[in-house]
Symmetry: C2
Subunit: 394 residues, 2 copies
C-alpha cells in the first residue's frame, strides 16, 4: 500500500556515524569514528555479580514492572551525587531516569517542540540529538561554536528574533568539537536566556571525564527560574549498552515529564538502574577516576601524533577531557573528500558536515575519537591521515 | 518561568492504573488491578546464569552500544518463532526489537499520526496505547467492542467517513475485556481495511497464553499488501521489567522504523534481548506451556467465585486465556462508585471508564485481573465484590 507517514518524520535522518561504524567492524580498519568508552574499562566483574544477585534474590523488583520515575534508590543516590559534584539543587528540581541521553533529547523535544518551532543548537553539534529534535518537526538553527562556546552575538540575535523552543548546548568536552564553554560564556548564556525568556537544554555526558584543567559550574547550577533542563548519562562513565541517562528539571515539570516517560516505554531497565545505584553507593567515583589516566594517555598520543604528522595548516585543540579531537582543514575546504579517501586507506573518521544543521553544505571539520582505538592504532592511523593531509594540502 | 509546552501533550494523560497500583502496595490489599505475570513464574535461575555469563564473557556485546534493529541473533530466532507459531511471512516483512509493547505504540504513532489525525480503537481498549496515540495529537474514536470483536457496521462507517491513520486492535484475550476477535471478524476487518485503504495495527501480547479453545490466525497472517502492523511482547510470557517487545511490518517501512528507533533511544537493552534469544533457542515454548495451567487454574477460581457470589445481573465471560475478566454491571450503570467502595473494602479493581476514549463518561465495566493474586486472594476478594454487588443492585 501507499503509506501516509506523519510529516514530523520528513526531516528525520539516520545517523551517518552508525553507518560508518558498520565499516569499522571490517578487519584491519582503524576507527576514529566511534564515540564510546573502551570496553576494557567496563566494570564487568562487579556488574555480573550485581546482576546475578538481583535476578536471583530480588526477582520481583528486577523483572517485574518498575515505576516510570526510575528505580527509587537510584533516584536518591543520583540526586546526592549531582548535589555534591554539580551543585544542583533538588529542593527546586526533580530528576527522571531515562533510557540514555538519546531519550532525554527525544522526551525534551516531545514535550517542548511544536512542529515548525525553532530550536537553536551549537554548530556543530551532536547529530543524534539534532535528529531527535528534527523528528518532532523542529527547524534547527546553528549558532557558530567557538573554542570557548557559542558566539554570543549570534546567540543573542537568534534569541531576539526566533522565539526558539530552547537552545541546546553540550557545555563540556562537546561532541563533536571537544570544546568546553567557558565560565564567562555560561554566565552570559544564562543571562541572555533570562533576558529573552528562552529555555536552555544543557547536555553533559562528558563532564565527568576531565583529566586536566579546572571544573566549571554547569549552566543548570546557575538556574534561578527553572529555565534550564539538564541531562546526563552513564553511557560514557560506565557502559553505553546499559542505556541509563537522566533529565533534571524544575519540579513544576515533573508530572508532564513522568506522563511522557510512561507513554514512551513505561520505565527504563531496572537491572541496569540497580547497577548504577550500586556503583554510586560504592565505587563510582573511584571507577571514574580510574578512567582519567587511560583517556588522558590516549589523548596525549593523538595530540603528539597530530603535531608530528599533520600538515601545518590543519588546526586542532589539545583536549582536557572527553573522547574527541576535532581537526580542522583550512577554512573553506570540505573535509568529505579527505574522509572518503581516508576510509579507502582503512582509517575511519567522521566529516564535520555530519554534525551541522545542513549536512549538504561543506564543512572543514574532521572528528577524531581517541577513546576506543589503542595507542598503537592512534599512532598508525594519524600517520596515514597526516600523509593524506600533505598530499591534499601540498 | 512560564513553560510553553508542545500542544501534542495537551491530551496526554497519566495512567489511572499505575496510580491504583500504588494503593496495591499497602498491606492487606487484594489487588485485581494489575496486569502482569506472576513473579513466581519468572525464569530467574536461568536469567541469572545468562546475565552473569553474558556480562563476564561477552562484555563488549552486552555492555557496548548495540544496533538499533535489535540483537541480531534474537531478530533471527524471533522471526523463526513467529513464522512457526503465527505463520508470519518474513520474505515480505521485517521485525524491529523495541522496548516493550508500549514503545511499539509510541513508535507507530510517531511514524503515522499527524496532529489532529483520527485513530480508531476498540472501545474499551488498552489505556497505555491510547495515551501513546494521544501524545502525538491523535483524535481517538472508539468502535464498540462485542464479545467476538468490534461491531463491523460501526467500523465500516468510521473507515468510510474518518480516513483514520489506523485501526488499533488487540486481537486475542483483549485488555481490558478478555475478549477475542473471531476468525470471521478478523477476515472481515482485513477486507474492510483493504476496501477503505486503512492500516491495521494489531497488538498481540496475550495470544500465546491460550489455555482453552482453538488458535485463531492473526490479521497480520492474512496481510497481502503490507497494511497490517503487528506487535508482540515478552512482558506477559517472560517478565515485564525486561521491556522487550517487537514490531512486525512490511519491508518498505524498515528504514523509517529503524531511524525512528535510533532517534528515541538508540537501541533496547542487549542483555534482556540475549535472555529472550536464549529462551527462544531452548526452553521458551516449554516455559509458556508451564504458565498455562497456572493461569487456567486462577481463571477457573475467579469464574467459579463470580458465579457463586456475584449478583445475577452482573455479566462476564469465562476466559480462554490471557489475564483478565471484565465484569459488567447492568447497562447504563457507572462502575466508578462500585470500584471506589471496593477500594474502601480493600479490593482494587479498575473502572471500565479508564479504558474508554472519553474517561469522563460513565461505563459499566470492571476489569478484574487474575494472573497476579493468589487463588485464596481471588476467593476472598470476589466474596467482597459479590457482597457489594448485592448491596448495590439489591
Amino acid at each position: 500500500m501507499d503509506y501516509r507517514m506523519a510529516s514530523r518524520m520528513d526531516g528525520a535522518q539516520g545517523s551517518i556515524i552508525r553507518e560508518l561504524l558498520k565499516l569499522a567492524a571490517e578487519p584491519g580498519m582503524i576507527s576514529f569514528g566511534g564515540g564510546a568508552p573502551e570496553p576494557a574499562s567496563f566494570p564487568t566483574e562487579r556488574f555480573a555479580k550485581i546482576a546475578e544477585n538481583a535476578i536471583k534474590n530480588k526477582a520481583k523488583a528486577t523483572l517485574g514492572y518498575g515505576i516510570s520515575e526510575g528505580y527509587p534508590p537510584l533516584v536518591a543516590s543520583l540526586k546526592a551525587y549531582l548535589t555534591k559534584t554539580e551543585h544542583l539543587d533538588f529542593s527546586d528540581n526533580e530528576l527522571l531516569i531515562l533510557s540514555g541521553g538519546q531519550q532525554c533529547a527525544d522526551l525534551v523535544a516531545k514535550l517542548f517542540v511544536n512542529e515548525g518551532d525553532r530550536v537553536l543548537v551549537e554548530n556543530p553539534s551532536f547529530v543524534g540529538c539534532m535528529n531527535a529534535f528534527r523528528s518532532y518537526g523542529a527547524r534547527l538553527q546553528g549558532i557558530p561554536l567557538e573554542s570557548d562556546g557559542v558566539n554570543l552575538e549570534a546567540l543573542e540575535a537568534a534569541f531576539a528574533t526566533e522565539k526558539p523552543s530552547f537552545f541546546y548546548m553540550i557545555s563540556t568536552f562537546q561532541n563533536p568539537s571537544g570544546y568546553t564553554t567557558s565560565h564567562e560564556k555560561r554566565k552570559a548564556i544564562y543571562q541572555l536566556a533570562k533576558q529573552y525568556n528562552v529555555m536552555v537544554f544543557e547536555d553533559n555526558p562528558y563532564g565527568e571525564l576531565r583529566y586536566e584543567g579546572a571544573w566549571i559550574p554547569s549552566v543548570k547550577s546557575m538556574d534561578q527560574d527553572g529555565r534550564v533542563l539538564y541531562s546526563g548519562s552513564f553511557s560514557k562513565t560506565l557502559a553505553p549498552g546499559m542505556r541509563v541517562g537522566y533529565l533534571v528539571y524544575n519540579k513544576a515539570l515533573h508530572t508532564k515529564c513522568k506522563i511522557a516517560k510512561q507513554g514512551v516505554d513505561v520505565h527504563s531497565s531496572t537491572l541496569y538502574q540497580m547497577m548504577c545505584h550500586a556503583m554510586l553507593k560504592d565505587g563510582y567515583e573511584a571507577h571514574v577516576a580510574s578512567l582519567l589516566p587511560r583517556y588522558k594517555a590516549k589523548a596525549n598520543v593523538m595530540s603528539a601524533a597530530l603535531e608530528k604528522h599533520m600538515h601545518k595548516d590543519v588546526r586542532w585543540q589539545r583536549p582536557q577531557g572527553g573522547f574527541f579531537i576535532m581537526a580542522w582543514l583550512p577554512e573553506g575546504m570540505d573535509s568529505l573528500p579527505f574522509v572518503n579517501e581516508a576510509v579507502k586507506r582503512r582509517v575511519i573518521t567522521v566529516p564535520g558536515s555530519a554534525f551541522t544543521v545542513d549536512p549538504s553544505r561543506p564543512n572543514n571539520g574532521i572528528r577524531l575519537n581517541f577513546s576506543l582505538p589503542s595507542a598503537e592504532q592512534i599512532e598508525e592511523g594519524i600517520v596515514i591521515l597526516g600523509q593524506l593531509s600533505h598530499e591534499m594540502l601540498g
